[in-house]
């Protein structure tokens, strides 16, 4: 059966999609993160082994992705709050979204080295 087309929403709709996807993603990560942190109650060794995996390049990269998700969710969350509570919020929602994206890009670029330095140094040396 030929499907209907995708609704061509604009900034508002796509930012909401991204907000939702990142929210769910963070939720699952948080779940895992509490579990692994709980290992500090088991033994220092167990904890350190798990943390070791955080330092592998792949997971390190995923970590960068996670930060990207959290940052977007956080910044856009502030935009949503502004839309809801500031009377001019709805009017400037698009401008605010582009600000969010701008700040997000800047922060992500800034965080690139600090977060990935572990991987970078292990690959390319100091």
């Amino acid at each position: 059966m030929p499907a209907g087309t995708l609704y061509r929403g604009r900034e508002g709709m796509w930012s909401w999609v991204a907000h939702r996807v990142t929210g769910v993603l963070i939720f699952f990560f948080l779940f895992a993160h509490v579990l692994d942190t709980a290992l500090v109650r088991v033994s220092p060794e167990a904890y350190d082994t798990v943390i070791q995996t955080y330092k592998t390049p792949l997971v390190n990269l995923m970590e960068y992705g996670l930060v990207a998700a959290i940052l977007f969710h956080a910044l856009n969350g502030l935009r949503v709050v502004a839309v809801d509570f500031w009377s001019k919020g709805p009017k400037y929602q698009k401008q605010m979204l582009w600000t969010v994206v701008g700040v997000w890009v800047v922060l992500m670029a800034g965080a690139f080295y600090p977060i990935l330095q572990h991987t970078l140094t292990s690959w390319f040396g100091k």
């Binding site: 087309t5 061509r8 929403g9 508002g12």
Partner: protein, 252 residues
Amino acid sequence: MEKHSAALDAAEAGGTKLITVTVRIRRFNPEEHPDPVWVDYQLEMDPKERVLDALNKIKWEQDGTLTYRRSCAHGICGSDAMRINGRNRLACKTLLKDVNPEKPITIEAIKGLTVLKDLIVDMDPFFQAYKDVMPFLITKGNEPTRERLQSAEDRERFDDTTKCILCAACTSSCPVFWNDGQYFGPAAIVNAHRFIFDSRDEGAEQRLEILNDREGVWRCRTTFNCSEACPRGIEVTKAIQEVKRALVTRRF
């Protein structure tokens, strides 16, 4: 007249050139076939004509079975909300030149309401939500003999939401409404807003209570599809926000 802008010249130019447009319509007739199909129609149109004119031309000259609602043909009656190139619009308020007539123009029924035939959907749930917000003036006490007074500012307060023509473009563009259709939807909230902020009305508390429902304003995720879709230019999301804020401030 000496005042003559290029826009006016263009508007007055007679014998405009016709272009060939392809209109791709998602047809559905359960009497004939259980599944919808996309059908292409080619026609010669003046790009300054409306999408509704194109549909009429198809119905009148090519395929009389094509079915859609229409009446006023100038964006005032709310009959012909449909999804044109993926966005909800009124066919009679959308000119061909504004939807890129070089490429096929896709047209399908609005989303989230049962499609009954071609572009016709079941409007029942939509109007039910409207009726549920008690969309009529509620007053207490004796009627005055003359009109109720209302200052121009008080009248302005809810002007935006009085413009609604109940076309359903907003509600059927809302991703929350698509899911299970239980959400009251932006149109119902707009019409509640029209009375909540009318200084003459005394039923605001009741209406706010209704919208405090599980399926009320709190389901809105501020996706702004409704505001983008509204052919009357109503700031729908803003109206919803005002209702939310009224609820919060009234409760605390």
